[in-house]
Amino acid sequence: MTLSEEELAEERTGPGPARAAPPSRLRVVTGRFFASRQGRLGFAVLAVLVALACAGPLFSPWAYTDKDFLAFLRPPSAAHWFGTSQTGADVYAMTLRGMRRSLLVGLLAALVSTALAALVGAFAGYFLGWTDRVLSRLTDLLLVLPAFLILAIMSPLFGAGQWPLFVLMLALFLWMVTSKITRGMTISLKQREFVQAARYMGVPPMKIIFSHVLPNLSSLLIVDATLNVSAAILTETSLSYFGFGIQPPDVSLGTLIADGSRTAVYAPWTFWFAAGLLVITVLAVNLVGDALRDAFDPTARRSR
């Protein structure tokens, strides 16, 4: 059953440089992610944005709730770095505050919705039978519900400090289509021999889903997640525009863009900082997503 004693001894004494660092998937993917310029750039930009959103307000004498009644609609200056709005609020403070909210809402909602889509789709597709029927009905039900209306009706609940609920509700209406695609792809993946091989090896079903099915859907899921970031931010923006999303005095990039769009023509600083940061955020997320997808996909062209 085993190798001969002699060989075992040889194996034990024989030093192997490859054995020092077990090259598991996580290490390889991380390595490949940071080896690509896209990945490094996207990650750096996103990190700077997050740092700015968290630490930026500390450097400004103004808080986002403060109003400077001596300066209405002033262009950027030493006192107000990004200028002031019609009500005399500091645009720098408001934009950073808004970005913090939008980043949280966008990234979290996208992650939650993609995770939900992946799990529901993969479980329905892998187990089929009753699991599939229940999960598919649920998906269909959520698909036919008018998301915007429900969010609008629920908006009183999203008062101060209730943003996690808002994120959850946003995510709840974003995952269904992806979940249906995931389900279909899982069904076809299940027939593939490497999934069969894992089954015959005795790998438990949950483990197969997490180590074989989902990684093979990663391209789809990552693209979906990056798209969902912008979708979530935009949904939040449009909800906020109608006054249903983030409630004042809290601000988001959406409410800022909505407010700023009215004065954008003659006071561009009220609009362009918020809009520019939104664009940069979405761009950085897309860069990270692309790099991640390539890092996961071994067939992608290497950037060695």
Partner: protein, 719 residues
């Protein structure tokens, strides 16, 4: 006689990739030229270039002359007039070569009417004649059928009928039988011979199967890395080989005929990628006769005999591989300077140490005369008793009515003892894969009993099932499909170790999977430092080694092999077979080996079970079943396999089977084989036949460890 088709210095390139480099050949009327090469050798591209059917982006230069007329670079209108009329083609996949929405008769008639001014009715009449010629029963009725109503072999006959519809002068056959079963392959080759006699055409036969060429071709051209490396008469190439690559190919083919289990001689490495060919002889990196001069420049084709050319600077030292010679080395053993590839460098290929002598069955054979020890091991690792698996056939879109039952496996019994290898062979549709799946599922069978490692699958607890999953592992046919493309080799090999964490800890004193992974890669002859790579980065043979390494990770007792080498090229196949053979000896494994290739089974298995339509036709020791098969089906199957030995191949008499496998939803009454049985049709009297029609034969014992399910079983040597 002036040649029909002359190809001179044909070059085909796709951008920077040179697929064909300097191919020259001529074919005379009535001559059969076999072009042999592994995948990627450029043989199919060369055929497409001759037909003017290259994909856009390919550039061809050189000359292709048909009856002296230049085809290369000729305008499309001129080529169309030639295609199908003077040169026609038979493709590998007969289903995609026929249009699914037209009747078969109309398609052949269309082929006739494109080139001949005849009326519709005349063309249809000709189509029926052609179908008759290629041996389709009831040609008048079948001409009205659609392609999907034909089986693979029948479709290929239709394609041949289309190819000869206009009495072509050259028929190019691109792997015409690769997608078919052996018995059907024998039929189709016979049809091709008939077609050739009827039209007097020259045939260019492109294949990777050295056996097919041996019996069929007059001359052979061996291609490697886009170039011809040896050209000559069949006998010259097979018996007076002058190119190490050809020697290697012939030595690495497992043969179904006697010669016992000589060690196969694999060719090291794998063919060079078209984009990264070495500067010198393309075969030099794999060649055991390599000298420094080989790497200077590519050798031209040397004239080594009458009409025999080889591209090797040391051609006069190359010795052909001799069938009777027990020696492992294909050339003179006294050649001290040359390191033959079977010996030495054990670090890379551990099985090279074995040299066949360590195998217990072979070693113990000394006392028992020529045979192998007939005494079988005591412990059974797998026992299958009366296994039945049937699927319902349903019809209707909304209300699915049950309209029949497919008996995929209809009562199969066999067992495997410790350390034994059972080969389960059969053609497609014989139920061997279904039987395998039933065993692997470890679920209660519909009928019958499956006992794995002493435990009945009908009464398994969760823990017992997990334990069996650890001790029974599987290797799949397609190594690329069986390895998760998103996992590194390290993760793939560590997966079983993580799933059953106790096994390696117990056996190896608690080492991390990293050490075991390196050990496994070493065991199957791969470099442990490649663990961070993905399956895509490896060649087919290496991938299959990874698949084997994964199966061995937990040190199983029973290994189930599902066609483990059929997806691999000939020169690589031998290495994997040798690896499997040596691993069995070293690790004391038992194999259940499912394959359609009887030659591979003969090489690896101790016992063999031949399946036909869901039942076992014959079972027994390999030497007995192959030497003196008793069931008419086994006899036909063995006689259908082409041998890579031209003289024997020409002298052989084949038992050809009629028709196709019956519908498994509606098997014949009594003996399932009787509809195609040559004995039933030819030898038996009416009274004897009624037994075949009424009673399904059970397996009867015929001497020591051989049994056949035939009422009139008689031993007969066929290979």
């Amino acid at each position: 006689m002036s040649p029909v088709l002359e190809v001179e210095r044909l070059e085909v390139s796709f951008g920077d990739v040179h697929a064909v480099r300097g191919l020259s050949y001529t074919v005379r009327p009535g001559e059969v030229l076999g072009i042999v090469g592994e995948s990627g050798s450029g043989k199919s591209v060369a055929a497409a270039a001759v037909m003017g059917l290259l994909p856009p982006g390919a550039r061809a230069s050189g000359s292709v002359r048909l009856h002296g007329r230049q085809l290369l670079g000729a305008p499309e209108r001129e080529l169309r007039a030639v295609r199908g009329r003077t040169v026609s083609m038979v493709f590998q996949d007969p289903l995609s070569a026929l249009t699914p929405v037209y009747r078969v008769g109309d398609q052949i008639a269309e082929a006739v009417r494109v080139h001949q001014k005849v009326s519709r009715e005349q063309a249809l009449a000709k189509a029926v004649d052609l179908l008759d010629l290629v041996g389709i029963p009831d040609p008048r009725g079948r001409a009205l059928a659609f392609p999907h109503e034909f089986s693979g072999g029948m479709r290929q006959r239709v394609v041949i009928a289309m190819a000869i519809a206009n009495d072509p002068d050259v028929i190019i056959c691109d792997e015409p039988t690769t997608a078919l079963d052996v018995t059907v392959q024998a039929q189709v080759l016979e049809v091709l011979k008939t077609a050739q006699r009827a039209t007097g055409a020259a045939i260019v036969m492109i294949t990777h199967d050295l056996g097919v060429v041996a019996g069929f071709a007059d001359r052979v051209l061996v291609m490697y890395a886009g170039r011809p490396v040896e050209v000559g008469d069949v006998d010259d190439v097979y018996y007076r080989t002058r190119m190490p690559y050809t020697v290697g190919l012939l030595g690495s083919v497992p043969r179904v005929d006697a010669g016992g289990r000589r060690a196969l001689v694999p060719i090291d490495g794998h063919p060079p990628a078209p984009a990264a060919r070495p500067p010198g002889c393309p075969f030099a990196p794999r060649c055991p006769m390599r000298i420094e001069a080989c790497e200077d420049r590519e050798p031209p084709l040397f004239e080594v005999g009458a009409g025999h050319q080889a591209a090797c600077i040391r051609w006069d030292e190359v010795r052909p591989w001799a069938a009777g010679d027990g020696a492992v080395r294909p050339w003179a053993a006294g050649d001290g300077a040359v390191r033959p590839w079977a010996a030495g460098d054990g670090a890379v290929r551990p099985w090279a140490h074995d040299d066949g002598a360590v195998r217990p069955s072979a070693g113990g054979g000394g006392g028992d005369g020529p045979g192998w020890p007939v005494v079988r091991g005591a412990r059974r690792v797998l026992e299958v008793d009366g296994l039945v698996k049937h699927y319902p056939v349903r019809k209707g879109a909304i209300f699915k009515r049950r309209v029949g039952t497919v008996h995929a496996v209809a009562g199969v019994s066999f067992d495997i003892r410790e350390g034994e290898t059972l080969g389960l062979v059969g053609e497609s549709g014989s139920g061997k894969t279904t039987a395998l799946t039933q065993i692997l599922e470890l679920a209660e069978p519909q009928e019958g009993r499956v006992v794995v490692l002493g435990r009945d699958t009908a009464r398994l607890t969760r823990e017992q099932r997990a334990a069996i999953r650890r001790d029974m592992q599987v290797v799949f046919q397609d190594p690329l499909a069986a390895l998760d493309p998103r996992m590194t080799i390290y993760d793939i090999l560590a997966e079983p170790l993580r799933t059953h964490p106790r096994a390696p800890l117990r056996a190896h004193g608690g080492r991390a999977p990293g050490a075991r992974v390196a050990e496994l890669l070493d065991l199957v002859g791969l470099d442990p430092s490649h663990a961070a790579r993905y399956p895509q980065d490896f060649s087919g043979g290496q991938r299959q080694r990874i698949g084997i390494a994964r199966a061995l990770a937990l040190e199983p007792r029973l290994l189930v092999l599902d066609e483990p080498v059929s997806a691999l090229d000939v020169s690589i196949r031998a290495g994997v077979i040798n690896l499997l053979d040596s691993l069995r000896t070293r690790l004391g494994l038992s194999y259940l080996f499912v394959a359609h290739d009887l030659a591979v089974v003969r090489y690896l298995a101790d016992r063999v079970a031949v399946m036909y339509l869901g039942r076992i036709a014959e079972i027994g020791r390999v030497e007995a079943v192959y030497g003196t098969p008793a069931h008419p089906y086994t006899q036909a199957l063995l006689s259908a396999i082409p041998l890579p030995d031209p003289v024997r191949e020409r002298a052989r008499e084949r038992t050809l089977l009629d028709g196709d496998l019956p519908d498994p939803a509606d098997p014949p009454s009594g003996c399932r084989f009787r509809t195609r049985c040559p004995k039933f049709a030819g030898v038996l009297t009416g009274a004897e036949r009624s037994l075949c029609v009424d009673t399904e034969p059970e397996i009867r014992t015929l001497g020591e460890d051989q049994g056949a399910a035939c009422h009139y079983a008689e031993k007969l040597a066929v290979v």
